[in-house]
């Protein structure tokens, strides 16, 4: 890491800066392998920003480094004007995260979970109660408010995690594969919440490998492959009149599986 303030663009950051997130030279190695290799990116305020890439491209690792969950080997990240590694506590106030694999408090009910989280985040009890009730209602978790999280389905876990991520009304929301393993009804609910958040001026950054979802939801997109950004801009700029999926396949190098060794597949045993 280069430390806070080394980037001339970043030092000029103010609340009025049009960029909600600035990423510069972000790098992470696992052993000999570059999981993320010098990624730089500007995310405008109010954007619905999609990071797409094949499995293992470095999407989740990038999000972890942007949200203080993983220390980068090199590079810097500013969220809402705050360097996430030298200003960790303030940065955590400004961002919300829906991680792919963060453990939840399994033996709290959904209501208890949000309540404790609100207190830990310094919200007034009345505010926590109001927001929790509203979020649980919108996310269709009313009946589950008194059920242990251990008994939640995958979709319910995603939704309670989203409620936890937005409870403190962050300025930037990071979502790692938010629609993975989620049924269409729950996915639509989550999309509605995110849309409301974005319309209100919040910035959403989500990772996904479902092109249709990204194309439909996002106004900006970055294609990541092998830890590097291979294309970035508005969705229209990146797809250049084609389908995003076709651009993506071309960018990351697609391959097809036809016959050959799989000739046995689906045949009568």
């Amino acid at each position: 890491m280069s430390g806070a303030g080394h980037d001339p663009d970043a030092t000029a950051l103010t609340a009025a800066d049009p960029r909600a997130v600035i990423i510069r030279g972000l790098t992470k190695r696992f052993g000999d392998r570059h999981a993320v290799n010098g990624i730089s990116l500007d995310v405008p305020r109010g954007a619905f920003f999609g990071i797409v890439g094949p499995n293992g491209a470095g999407k989740s690792t990038t999000i972890k480094m942007c949200t203080t969950l993983l220390r980068p080997d090199a590079g810097d990240v500013w969220v809402d004007g705050h360097h996430v590694w030298s200003d960790v506590t303030v940065a955590k106030h400004r961002l919300g995260v829906l991680p792919d694999d963060l453990p939840l408090f399994e033996r709290l009910t959904g209501g208890e979970f949000l309540s404790f989280l609100g207190v830990f985040r310094g919200l007034a009890p009345g505010v926590v109660a109001d927001r929790s009730a509203a979020l649980m209602s919108v996310l269709g978790l009313d009946d589950a408010a008194r059920v242990l999280i251990a008994d939640y389905s995958t979709g319910m876990r995603k939704k309670i995690s989203l409620a936890a991520a937005v409870l403190h009304n962050p300025r930037v929301l990071f979502l790692d594969e938010p629609f993975e393993s989620v049924d269409p009804v729950s996915a639509r609910t989550i999309q509605d919440v995110l849309h409301t958040y974005c319309v209100g001026g919040g910035t959403v950054i989500l990772s996904s490998h479902v092109m249709d979802t990204v194309e439909r939801l996002c106004d900006h997109v970055a294609i990541v492959n092998a830890g590097m950004i291979v294309a970035a801009g508005t969705v229209d700029q990146v797809r250049g009149g084609r389908r995003l999926e076709d651009v993506f396949i071309d960018a990351v190098g697609g391959r097809t599986a036809q016959g050959g060794d799989l000739g046995w597949l689906g045949t009568e045993v």
């Binding site: 696992f30 052993g31 000999d32 392998r33 999981a35 109010g46 293992g56 690792t61 972890k64 949200t67 203080t68 969950l69 993983l70 220390r71 809402d80 590694w85 960790v88 506590t89 303030v90 955590k92 106030h93 400004r94 995260v97 991680p99 963060l102 453990p103 939840l104 408090f105 399994e106 033996r107 709290l108 208890e112 404790f116 989280l117 207190v119 830990f120 985040r121 310094g122 919200l123 007034a124 505010v127 109001d130 927001r131 242990l148 251990a150 008994d151 403190h168 009304n169 962050p170 300025r171 958040y197 209100g200 001026g201 919040g202």
Partner: protein, 556 residues
């Protein structure tokens, strides 16, 4: 929202409330999590287990309180010194290493669950300490501390110093425990580090176990030596401080309290550093390392390819490969082996190491390995689920688990037997022991397989060898009670034939010896056959019931 995000009325306060209220919230969180263990939605066994654990802690607290308060009269100076010095040493050491192996999933002290919260490290540490003081076991130790203050009270002006000593004792135990757990979690992020962490934790637990058991057997001279050694360490010094305060020696006591305080400060420093690393470098175990790990096991690959031609062979191979690769399974097996060896070593250390008869106690080395045999279906619920879905016959899965059960039981016994026979020359005893153990192993794994469908306790496989998702839920307690029942029956299965056979051999009544051997073997194989038949039928009938019981999410 928009521009008003965050700073709007009702937005987050970046100072995150007062430290006092946050600390209190941590304690409250722990209490709510404990209360969840008694919820009606939990299974009856979970609630019974939690109730038994609470009752045991209450009885322990009362017994400890009475013992410590009784120091006020009737104890000789020597006995009092031994009790205080060794007792304080064991309480602190036990608190350091005990939770690592028995209750690693205390959610309030798992920093990863709090990684996204805007808490400073100091707030997190204070909160974790507060949460660590809530629960039956910590409160039991606090009650003991109060008992110590009362029991060792000297002149009135020493009482504040006694209270200080008790507070330092509890805090050192708690902070040290968190420092060790966090350091081991940091080590566990890589495979090699995980193995080292497992070794350190198991070694600590084994030392504690041996020390605790040894107290029951050792002579006065050995006890004095132990007291001298313990008194030379800060952990034992605090016990000495209580004794000195009882005599009015405040200065002598204070520097001993300071010594333990220095340990607490060092532990706090270490904890802080490791906490920082753990929370910001959660993911150093990259995908390539996992792939390399799997491909770097040619021995097991070869072993697997030879075995895995049949469903039963594949089940056996999978069990053994998992034993090697799963950190949780490795830790569990290593713990069982070390504690088993420690148990026998402790008996041998009583001066009987040269007595050939010591070889006959070798089967004690398997005591802790029996936990696998008694919970064959529960040690890896995910594997059970996959096998049910994949659909091999129950007999194949039963065979795989029986094979690993037999390996778990026989390995420590044979190693121990060979070592003891080599040292004592008791090769005749070794032959008798092995002759008995062949049938006994069948009987034990058979019995275990019959018990497992009914009492299967889920122990989900986890990358964290110290993770125990049954912590604070009571299931661990139920598993313990079932395990004790199994041990009693197992002791009869092993000991009765062994003693009888040795008597016949020692008296050179070879005909009787042959009769005992054949009779015992037939009985043991009969137990194995009947139990196994019951187990296979029970699994066939109740497979989905067992699966539901083992479902990792429902039992999380």
């Amino acid at each position: 929202m928009g521009g008003a995000n965050g700073s709007a009325a009702g937005g987050p306060n970046e100072s995150v409330g007062s430290n006092g209220s946050l600390t209190w919230t941590f304690a409250k969180l722990k209490f709510v999590l404990l209360r969840a263990s008694l919820r009606r939605r939990q299974s009856v066994w979970n609630r019974v287990g939690t109730f038994v654990a609470l009752l045991a802690s209450l009885l322990g607290a009362i017994a400890g309180f009475i013992a410590t308060v009784s120091l006020r009269g009737g104890w000789s100076a020597v006995a009092e010194e031994r009790f205080l010095v060794i007792g304080c040493f064991l309480v602190i050491f036990g608190w350091w290493f005990g939770p690592v192996l028995s209750g690693g999933s205390d959610e309030t002290v798992d920093p990863m669950r709090l990684a996204l919260l805007p808490l400073t490290r100091a707030q997190l540490r204070r909160g974790q300490i507060a949460a660590g003081l809530v629960g039956p076991a910590p409160l039991m130790v606090v009650v003991w501390g109060i008992g110590l203050v009362i029991g060792t009270a000297g002149p009135w002006w020493t009482v504040p110093f006694s209270i200080l000593a008790a507070v330092v004792l509890v805090l050192t135990a708690l902070i040290g425990s968190r420092a060790i757990a966090t350091s081991l979690a940091v080590l566990n992020r890589t495979r090699r580090g995980g193995d080292l962490a497992t070794f350190v934790a198991v070694l600590g637990a084994a030392m504690l176990f041996v020390a605790g058991q040894a107290l029951q057997f050792i002579s006065d001279e050995q006890l004095d030596t132990m007291t001298r050694i313990a008194r030379a360490t800060p952990l034992g010094m605090i016990g000495d401080a209580f004794r000195l305060l009882g005599d009015g020696d405040v200065v002598g006591a204070l520097w001993r309290i300071a010594a333990l305080g220095a340990v607490a400060a060092a532990a706090a420093w270490c904890w802080s550093r490791q906490l920082d690393r753990l929370m910001s470098e959660s993911d150093v175990r990259g995908r390539l390392e996992a792939a390399a790990t799997i491909s770097a096991l040619p021995i097991f690959d070869g072993f697997r390819s030879r075995l895995a031609h049949t469903p039963a062979g594949a089940a056996v191979a999978r069990e053994i490969v998992y034993l090697k690769r799963s950190p949780g399974r490795r830790a569990s097996m290593l713990t069982s082996l070390m504690l088993g060896f420690a148990y026998v070593a402790m008996l041998a250390a009583r001066g009987q190491i040269r007595d050939p008869m010591i070889v006959l106690v070798s089967p004690l080395a398997m005591v802790f390995a029996l936990q696998y045999a008694a919970n064959q279906n529960g040690v890896d619920p995910a594997a059970f689920w996959i096998e049910v879905v994949a659909g091999p016959q129950q007999i194949a899965r039963w065979a795989g688990r029986q094979a690993l059960g037999a390996v778990s039981i026989l390995t420590p016994v044979l190693i121990t037997g060979v070592v003891l026979a080599a040292v004592s020359g008791g090769w005749r005893q070794f032959a008798v022991m092995v002759a008995t153990m062949i049938g006994a192993t069948f009987a034990l794994v058979g019995l275990g397989s019959a018990m497992s469908p009914a009492f299967a306790t889920p122990v989900p496989d986890s990358g964290n060898p110290f993770g125990n998702r049954q912590a604070m839920q009571g299931t661990g307690c139920v598993a313990g009670l079932v395990g004790i029942m199994y041990l009693v029956v197992g002791a009869a299965i092993v000991a009765l034939p062994e003693i009888s056979l040795w008597w016949a051999v020692d008296n050179r009544r070879w005909g009787l010896a042959a009769l005992v051997f054949i009779g015992a073997l037939a009985a043991q194989l009969g137990v194995w056959f009947a139990s196994s038949r019951f187990a296979i039928r029970s699994l066939a009938r109740n497979e989905l019931v067992v699966l539901e019981r083992l479902d990792a999410r429902l039992n999380a």
